[in-house]
């Protein structure tokens, strides 16, 4: 890619977008680093509008958008040359083969025809459509169409890929495979901005999260920093778990069995010591002991509520 200025991958500065009767984004300011980024929000939160503003397909009512140091308002073409875009909705010509579609979009991204064809072949291989490349898109399953959409977003060798609900409509296996593909993009040096309302997807893949609600920023930070300790320890000691629960209850601790695991509320080191000693006294095998973290759902709900 071309020379890109250092700094945040995306900078939104006082970004407001109003449509007649609707404020889609309101004074949104955030710096987003490189990496795998989740853009999280409920339906109608402003995720797609943010994408349109990043692509220069809409003008902000107020504020600025920068991608890789380039002001989108001043050089939308320059910004688009750095981006790949995978919309949520169906967007591929159904009567063409995957190879034709992806190579055409490669050429539209500015690649010479021969290079576009070669890259189309490589990228379709990467997304697992190598054997289906000469089949018309109309015969593709939902999962294959999602992969083809991802392939057209990648064929231009983008600096940043905008993925709008990439797992929408996929079955659990397809979802896992798509998320694995998205996670791999990070290892290739491609940054990803993944808009979704599925917080599990973000928690699984992204290392930074931007949460928006009703067009306003809720919180932005690394995924790890947002996941807080809950004060609950999860223990797996096998089939004799009820003995441990009884012992801990007798000691005055709060413990309960949840999905064959024991959840123990601990407040301080004394409780942890008591848990350790109880397991040792009962001579139980210890298969797992971990601190339970909050989910992103909990973080979102709590922060959105406090923000409003």
């Amino acid at each position: 890619m071309g020379n890109v200025e250092p700094g945040p991958l995306i900078r939104l500065d006082g970004l407001t977008k109003r449509y007649p009767g609707v404020t889609a984004l309101s004074d949104l300011s955030v710096d987003v680093p490189r990496g795998l980024i989740g853009l999280v929000g409920a339906n109608g939160a402003g995720k797609t509008t943010t994408f349109r503003l990043l692509l220069g397909l809409a003008h902000p009512t107020e504020g600025r958008v920068e991608v890789c140091g380039i002001d989108v308002a001043k050089d939308p073409i320059g910004v688009r040359a750095l981006l790949g875009y995978m919309p949520e909705h169906d967007c591929l010509p159904l009567d063409q083969t995957a190879a034709d579609v992806v190579s055409t979009f490669g050429e539209l991204s500015g690649l010479p025809a021969r290079a576009a064809r070669q890259r189309a072949s490589d990228i379709l291989d990467l997304v697992g459509l190598d054997e289906a490349r000469f089949r018309p898109i109309s015969g593709f399953s939902t999962g294959m169409r999602q992969r083809a959409k991802l392939a057209q977003a990648l064929v231009g060798d983008p600096e940043l890929v905008l993925l709008d609900e990439p797992t929408a409509g996929l079955d659990p296996l397809g979802r896992e495979e798509m998320l694995a593909l998205v996670a791999r993009l990070g290892t290739f040096g491609i940054s990803v901005l993944m808009a979704t309302h599925l917080l599990d997807d973000v928690q699984q893949v992204c290392d930074h999260v931007v949460m928006i609600d009703a067009g306003r920023l809720v919180v932005s930070g690394t995924t790890d920093s947002l996941l807080e300790r809950t004060g609950v320890v999860t223990v797996d000691v096998g089939p004799r778990g009820h003995e441990l629960v009884a012992r801990l209850t007798a000691l005055g601790l709060t413990a309960a069995t949840e999905d064959n695991l024991i959840e123990v509320r601990v407040e301080g080191d004394q409780h942890m010591d008591a848990l350790r000693d109880a397991i040792a006294d009962l001579q139980l095998p210890l298969y797992r002991l971990s601190t339970r973290l909050t989910s992103l759902d909990e973080v979102f709900l709590r922060r959105a509520a406090s923000a409003s």
Binding site: R80, C91, L108, S109, D122
Partner: protein
């Protein structure tokens, strides 16, 4: 290379290879879309069914030239008998065949982009709305030019070789070398911009095709009713210009004859030629305005 023995094969994950070669911007993207539209319109890289219409049409529009040259060849020894079933001027106006092509192909290259919601993907590339219009229009106009011009080349070259002296024929028809391309360019751009503009109004091919034919037929019939049949005796009328189907043929006549054809419904109209040119430009500008507005994606 030695053969790989059973059990010794390996599967390699080629991973992702960044692209560090040359990369174009708007011009390259526009040219890519132009080429993709040409391929689609001609049915290339598509099923054989998609190839039938354009190439049958090319055959149909070439038949008069082949027949003309064939008869010229058969009668080449008849002294003083120059057979001509179609003139270069008439050949520019094989407009019903072109109209059919426009009604078939323009919807096919315009409507699916909107219907399949491909446009957001295109405009996420280094491509602006006007680039999209230029590429689509350019591709259709190029094909229309080729389909109108190639038969003329067949006719000219054929006539040259069946004439008594090819060199004399060539030197005696030098004006054809600029008149035909000029008239065909006007015709191609005109039909292309109307076909593309009308097709851009809907995402349904059948509706667009019917609308294209409808625009030409309705204006043609309306004009015919207003002008009437006795224009050769009573003089023509400006209402002849309502007929968008034959409007470019008045410009063709200006190129070939230097004036409006006395047999046309515009005959006898004061400054008819200039008004025809002005109307032609207005129609082009109106269609271009529709297209540019339709694909002004920014700030939608």
């Amino acid at each position: 290379m030695s053969a790989i023995e059973a059990g010794q094969g390996a599967v390699y994950d080629r991973g992702y290879r960044p692209y560090d070669g040359p990369r174009g911007r708007r011009g390259a993207a526009t040219m890519a879309l132009y080429k993709a539209t040409m391929r689609r319109a001609l049915g290339l890289r598509r099923s054989w069914r998609q190839k039938i219409a354009p190439f049958v049409l090319l055959g149909v529009v070439t038949i008069p030239a082949i027949v003309n040259v064939g008869i010229g060849y058969v009668t080449r020894d008849n002294v003083g008998d120059t057979f001509e079933i179609i003139t270069y001027r008439d050949y520019v106006g094989v407009s019903s065949a072109l109209l059919l092509f426009v009604a078939l192909v323009c919807p096919d290259v315009m409507c699916p982009d909107r219907r399949h919601r491909v446009l957001p993907l295109m405009f996420a590339r280094p491509l602006m709305g006007q680039d999209y219009v230029v590429a689509k229009l350019g591709a259709i106009a190029s094909i229309l030019f080729a389909f109108s011009f190639l038969p003329q080349v067949v006719l000219f070259v054929g006539n040259m070789f069946v004439s008594d002296s090819a060199l004399d024929y060539f030197s005696g028809h030098l004006d054809i070398l600029w008149k035909v391309p000029a008239a065909v360019v006007l015709l191609a751009v005109y039909y292309a911009i109307i076909g593309v503009a009308v097709s851009s109004m809907t995402d349904r091919r059948i509706v667009a095709g019917a609308a294209v034919v409808g625009v030409f037929l309705v204006t043609s019939i309306s004009s015919g009713i207003i002008v009437g049949d006795n224009y050769q005796q009573q003089g023509g009328s400006l209402a002849a210009l309502i007929n968008v189907w034959v409007l470019p043929l008045y410009l063709r006549d200006l190129i070939f004859l230097g004036h409006i054809d006395p047999d046309s419904p515009l005959t006898g109209v004061d400054q008819g030629g200039l008004i025809a040119i002005a109307t032609f430009i207005v129609v082009l500008c109106a269609a271009a305005g529709v297209l540019l507005r339709r694909y002004r994606w920014v700030e939608r």
